[in-house]
Symmetry: C2
Subunit: 364 residues, 2 copies
Amino acid sequence: MKIGILGGGQLARMIALAGYPLGLSFIVLDPDNHAGAAGLSHHLLGAYNNPELLAKLADEADVVTYEFENVPADVAQFLASRTTVYPPANALAVAQDRLLEKNFFNQLKIGTAPYAAIDSLQDLQQAMPEIGYPAILKSRRMGYDGKGQFVVQSANDLDAAWESMNGAAAIVEGFVNFQREVSIIAARRPSGDIVFYPLSENRHRGGILRVAECRDNDPAQQQAESHVRLLLEALDYVGVIALELFDVNGSLLANEFAPRVHNSGHWTIEGAETSQFENHLRAILDLPLGSTQPRGHAAMVNFIGGLASDAELLSLNHVHLHLYDKAPRKGRKVAHATVRSDNRAEFQHSLNALEQLAEQVDNS
Amino acid sequence: MKIGILGGGQLARMIALAGYPLGLSFIVLDPDNHAGAAGLSHHLLGAYNNPELLAKLADEADVVTYEFENVPADVAQFLASRTTVYPPANALAVAQDRLLEKNFFNQLKIGTAPYAAIDSLQDLQQAMPEIGYPAILKSRRMGYDGKGQFVVQSANDLDAAWESMNGAAAIVEGFVNFQREVSIIAARRPSGDIVFYPLSENRHRGGILRVAECRDNDPAQQQAESHVRLLLEALDYVGVIALELFDVNGSLLANEFAPRVHNSGHWTIEGAETSQFENHLRAILDLPLGSTQPRGHAAMVNFIGGLASDAELLSLNHVHLHLYDKAPRKGRKVAHATVRSDNRAEFQHSLNALEQLAEQVDNS
């Protein structure tokens, strides 16, 4: 079987690495000549909306999937008209528009931060008394890792905030006074079977995920599973999904979801019986899903903008390296490393050492 | 860094899968258009002794290694004159000649079965009274998985045995009344650091490895480590080595060694902190070697000549699939699967189920 992937970056790279052992081969479409998955796949070099390349992708692949959610609707439609595409187009449509996404959560009775649609400065001025300060103005579409966002501290910021959107449709969200950020990764296959990973507890800095740690037997696990199950079933979803949540005094509010494998689930490569990448493939091929049982204690640390030396990293006990073959550049994720151990103290010791290394080379 | 591999079969495939996360890329030379590592590497299609392709391999790769030991001496020499080649050529020379290999074991005072060099029918007739029946006549060079071998049951077999060698230089080996076959996988880097994996206990049928099981804390571990250490140091070896041993009442006799990653170490992908494939790469790149600590109970089952369906295999708990992208053919290894669990009873249950599946489709 041949899997097509829209996008050939590190997520496609890790999907391919998980797929070869299952006997799969890969074709990716990516405009970057040096895409991270290029060496592992038949690489179609060109724009994501190039109709000839899209046709080639659809014709050669048994199933097409994607590594980012900002797939233009017409592209998703074109692919779906020629081959099987998972996750389904409706999941994309919701995930790529912050307003639709928040509305969708609310329809499913999953709590969120207070929010309002903003199409003008006037909208923003009218919404703020109810939303309260501080708040974040975000473009409805695109934007990740904190890009396309403006923190509104007071009424004095409203003009600048709206200007920063360049007239794009936006949404304003109230700040949530959360204790921690968590995410849940789940996979669903066409038959409806679902598996859930243990919660990831996530630490961000500067809007970028830095550390994701597996939380086995977390008190919020059931609540997170019930939230993500609602999503999966409402969307008749197929593949891996990631739902990011704020934990507010033990109550989980939805932040956003990603209709794809997710950075906060990278620890599953070594830290779970079956990785999120393998389960994504099993799901889209309608194969039995693999066990999500954790293997000891596990966490993932991102390397942003710079990387410690191989020799330094590989000297650390319990550490597994994952380079993306990307040249270091300010703010760019170039690698992650997993720490995994059955022993809590050893795990914590290695995690601290790894975080220190990552901070030393940080360029974000 | 780019790694060159002579041979692009399943071993090269698994080396490449272990190497991408370390940021490595691969170039392989293999005459098979459908080589298992082709999709994961720059594939030079041609004969192993094609001088232009060998030059290209040497020039593009920072280090060259191989996935089989029968590399012609002049090929190894040619590559070594142009780039770094690990493991060293002397290890190849010894490993590809059963007589040199046995002599080498004896020089190191590592016990073996009784043996004698056979260059003629007369040699064979003269040797047998001392070797004793039954015995095995083997060609000195080439041959694997029981090929190029003749079991001599009595003096009546001598003519036929010698004839089967087609005049090739041979060695006759006495049968060893062993309780079990084990192997030890170890890795050594240029600095001299060595790591040892827990023993594998191996079950063969028809001369082909069927099951290899990790034996943590085996009483024979120290003895095996001391044997393989002698080899590694005498050869000034770099890379992964596998030493196959007969356990005779707790005393380990050497059978043969392979200067490469080895089928009996495939369980290390999921069953050890660092796989043999990753440690082979770390060793030949002179990077710190990774922990060989086992992760729970682990074993590997080969699929010979046929394969159960993905759906059947992936339904089994604790099972990890490794397809080689090879068309099923009588006697051909097409895949292996690892069973791994922290729980002994669960492990044994899954291993039994997996072995049953493998036997049902066996075509060897």
